[in-house]
């Protein structure tokens, strides 16, 4: 919601993403800080930020699919895996530059997602979510059972580093800029998508698909598009992941990872791109804390098994999902908006 006194006088102004001068300043400051981050922060923080930016791309895709179009998607990690595998196969076998492999990874994941989205022509509601679980299983099956010269089987694939003009993008700092550039493009694109004709169709389908159909929206195509876009984002994120880790294996893309992405958008807030980014930040921090603290706890409390990091991650993130659904189903973004409007009208209650 705009602060009082801001009245768009043309449709162009009404559709603007950056609406006030303060927003423009904040955005410029944020981008400036991000660009300077490798010189300000230590390597460990940069490593975490790299993970956050990749997760942000994937979570924003999921936000478009689930938050905007209302299609529960429990296969985001599989779509990410398709992207990661495409990028690593292209990079290691054909030696294509990352400028091509990343978009191609996105496209192949989008195709895979679209196939499952196509079922929307017949299926409604959360039945559709079940086909995405099938996507997860079929992805695992395909990787493990196709000849291992194709997709590496259970051994995984090693990925050569990304290269541009003879400069090898290795090390946290160089990868930071690559990830930041891609994340910036993708997130800017997401803002564009959700305020376009497609984005408005997504919201209409989410709110009531029967009504949306009566208004002339092709509901099945819209749902399939939502999966296509969500999977495209996942594929791009997967390609970045492949270049960051330099190794892809099938157990990096499990149902649990998909649920972690769902946790991100639920905590951040459904139906808001910024919410997805907040969710990524919060969940990644929680994961980082568990990964750091977990082994220490495991040492001091002996009766807990050795798998405490994974187990604790599941307990806490599962708890976070349930808690946010019960306490604040609209997510942290909604809280922030409440806070924002209350300081704008302070000292009046409303």
């Amino acid at each position: 919601m705009d602060p009082s006194g801001i009245f768009p006088t043309s449709y162009r102004a009404d559709r603007r993403v950056v609406r006030t001068r303060w927003q423009a300043i904040a955005l410029a400051l944020f981008i400036g800080l991000m660009l300077a981050a490798p010189y300000l922060a230590s390597g460990r923080i940069i490593a975490v930020m790299n993970m956050m930016m990749i997760s942000a791309v994937i979570a924003v895709g999921l936000q478009i699919c689930t938050g905007y179009a209302g299609q529960i998607n429990l296969g985001q990690a599989a779509f990410m895996g398709v992207g990661a595998y495409t990028a690593s196969i292209l990079a290691s076998k054909t030696g294509l530059t990352f400028l091509l492999t990343i978009p191609l990874a996105g496209l192949s994941a989008a195709l895979f997602g679209f196939l499952f989205g196509l079922t929307a022509a017949r299926i409604k509601g959360f039945y559709l979510a079940l086909t995405t679980i099938a996507a997860q299983f079929i992805f695992h099956f395909a990787v493990l059972n196709l000849p291992s010269s194709w997709m590496g089987g259970s051994n995984g694939i090693t990925v050569p580093p990304a290269e541009i003009f003879g400069f090898r993008i290795i090390g946290e700092t160089a990868q930071f800029y690559m990830n930041f550039a891609v994340a910036l493009i993708m997130i800017a694109g997401a803002f564009g998508i959700v305020r376009s004709r497609f984005g408005r169709a997504f919201v209409a389908v989410r709110d009531d698909d029967v009504a949306a159909g009566i208004m002339g929206i092709n509901v099945a195509a819209t749902k399939a598009n939502a999966f296509l876009i969500g999977a495209f984002y996942a594929g791009v994120g997967g390609a970045l992941w492949a270049y960051l880790i330099r190794f892809v294996g099938v157990d990096q893309f499990t149902l649990f990872n998909s649920i972690f992405f769902v946790a991100m958008i639920i905590v951040g807030g459904m139906g808001s791109i910024v919410g997805a980014l907040i969710g990524v930040f919060v969940i990644r921090i929680i994961q980082e804390i568990i990964a750091t603290v977990g082994p220490n706890i495991a040492e001091s409390v002996s009766f807990l098994g050795g798998d405490i990091v994974f187990a604790g991650m599941n307990v806490i993130l599962g708890g976070v999902i349930a808690l946010s659904m019960i306490v604040e189903p609209k997510g942290l973004m909604h809280r922030w908006n409440i806070l924002k409007s209350s300081y704008r009208i302070w000292p009046f209650p409303y």
Binding site: F141, A211, I259, G305, G306
Partner: protein
Amino acid sequence: MVYFVNDIITGALIGLLYSLVAMGFVVIYRASKVFNFAQGELVIIGGFIVWFTTMQLGLSLWFSIPLSLVLAGLVGYAIERIFLTKLIGESVFSMVMVTVGLLILLRGLVLLLFGPAVRPFPIIFPLKPLFLGDMLIPMNLLIGGIITIVAALGLSWFFNRTRSGLRMTAVAEDHIVASSMGISVKGSIAFAWVLGAILSTIGAMIFLSGKSLTFLASDIGFAALPVALFAGLESIGGLILAGVIIGIVQSLTTNYLDPLIGGSLGSVVPYIIMLAILLIRPTGLFGWRTIERV
């Protein structure tokens, strides 16, 4: 030929086991309209309860099985009380999302409490298979199949013929309408979860009897998913047919197709059937066809 018939019979019995686990999905769906993604986790919790009462407390099976069922019911009730009661009146979407959260929460809890160790599971059904001529049929699956059919017919009668069953069906139609007609949505959902947890525990007993127990056994929850969808999420009686068909197809694929192509196609064939059935007949074999209004 004997082997072929044997594969079909074993496949059908495994399919009936899937039906029993799928019954947990359907019962919860039939009484609350919530699709429970955490069904496999309920199975594994049931398994650990049975293991705990039999192996740890050392009770004889005659005491431990009823005690386990009661405990499982309590777990189901607790889950409902803690997580789902508060969401009555919110969208069904939130409830489904909570069960997704429950999926990883319960998995983590089981791992934290029991660890990844492999444990022996008590032998509940005789290990000696039944010999029919040259065929041998696993005893646990045979008894399990009979339990499944009895449970399916009983629950089908309960939900379609009795007053309280129809009341729950009304809740599955629409929470708000049901509660304005004086039906307790809370009670219905609580009953569904208690029943779902008990069915899962019975499923765990049949599935794991005489085998080893780890948290990985929860995969049966997702293996049962295609059966629930094939039957149609609202039909309990239909689960028998759907389970038998999927079990037979899976068994034949594993035994005859897998050696040819050298992969584990048998494990994904149920999902392929599921995708196909969702495309051809989205409501499953016996699901309700709903009419939507704006």
